[in-house]
Symmetry: C2
């Protein structure tokens, strides 16, 4: 998503700031991925592989079709960032795991994506707690 998600005639200031936040967050995420020549989706999948897991588990967690994961993982594999090993317990299944280079790239991505860290860092510990509480309440 390069185009921002909003605003649709924001009625309150809080809504407008919420939109700004989401937009800047998304762009920062995409920019950090782009620095490493990854798409957002690739960075996302790579970031979920702290432990090896099956394609289906990824699809379910990320809320998309399994065939989408197949494609993304195939590209990550072609980049040498991920392996698709057979699952010894179930020969239909595959276990996806990061390679050492995948670990490195993932780490560099985490370093490059500074937005959330920086934003939260502008707040005092007390303010961070307040923000957490407010957002939790807002999320219901």
């Amino acid at each position: 998503m390069a185009l921002p998600n909003g605003p649709v005639a924001t009625s309150s200031e809080a809504e407008a700031v919420l939109f700004d936040l989401v937009d800047i967050y998304d762009r920062a995420y995409e920019a950090a991925a782009a620095e490493l020549s990854l798409s957002s989706a690739q960075a996302c999948v790579l970031g979920r592989l702290d432990e090896r897991r099956g394609m289906g588990a990824l699809a379910e967690e990320l809320g998309c079709d399994a065939s989408n994961i197949t494609q993304i993982v195939a590209r990550l594999e072609a980049l040498g960032l991920v392996t698709r090993e057979p699952n010894p317990r179930d020969r239909r299944a595959r276990l996806v795991a990061r390679t050492p280079r995948g670990d490195e790239i993932n780490h560099r991505f985490a370093t490059a994506f500074t937005f959330a860290r920086t934003a939260v860092g502008r707040l005092s510990p007390d303010e961070q707690d307040q923000l957490t509480a407010l957002l939790r309440k807002a999320l219901g």
Copy 2:
């Protein structure tokens, strides 16, 4: 973007909540658009046409290539939601405007995208102000 943008080993609770917020927001936006058979990008562009404007202005505001806007507007036009009139002042340029049906769909989209409204609505007016202040500070 169907895949979520994060999390990359969130270090603080505030960061984690921030990620949740962004993810839910983006999904809600996409879902609202899908209800009207629109993509996020189409809903976004449609929402920026409260006043007629040129392709270039849209591209600049949305931070993407002009040719991207050409495509999206072409699809909106094919759906009858938008017109591309010649600009009397500059015959190179086009003025994009919503049709009455585009107005209606845009309004229905604004109604369907309840997330931000609902989330903010869970907070008292005081809390809304606090949230606004905290997010502004966090955004720097």
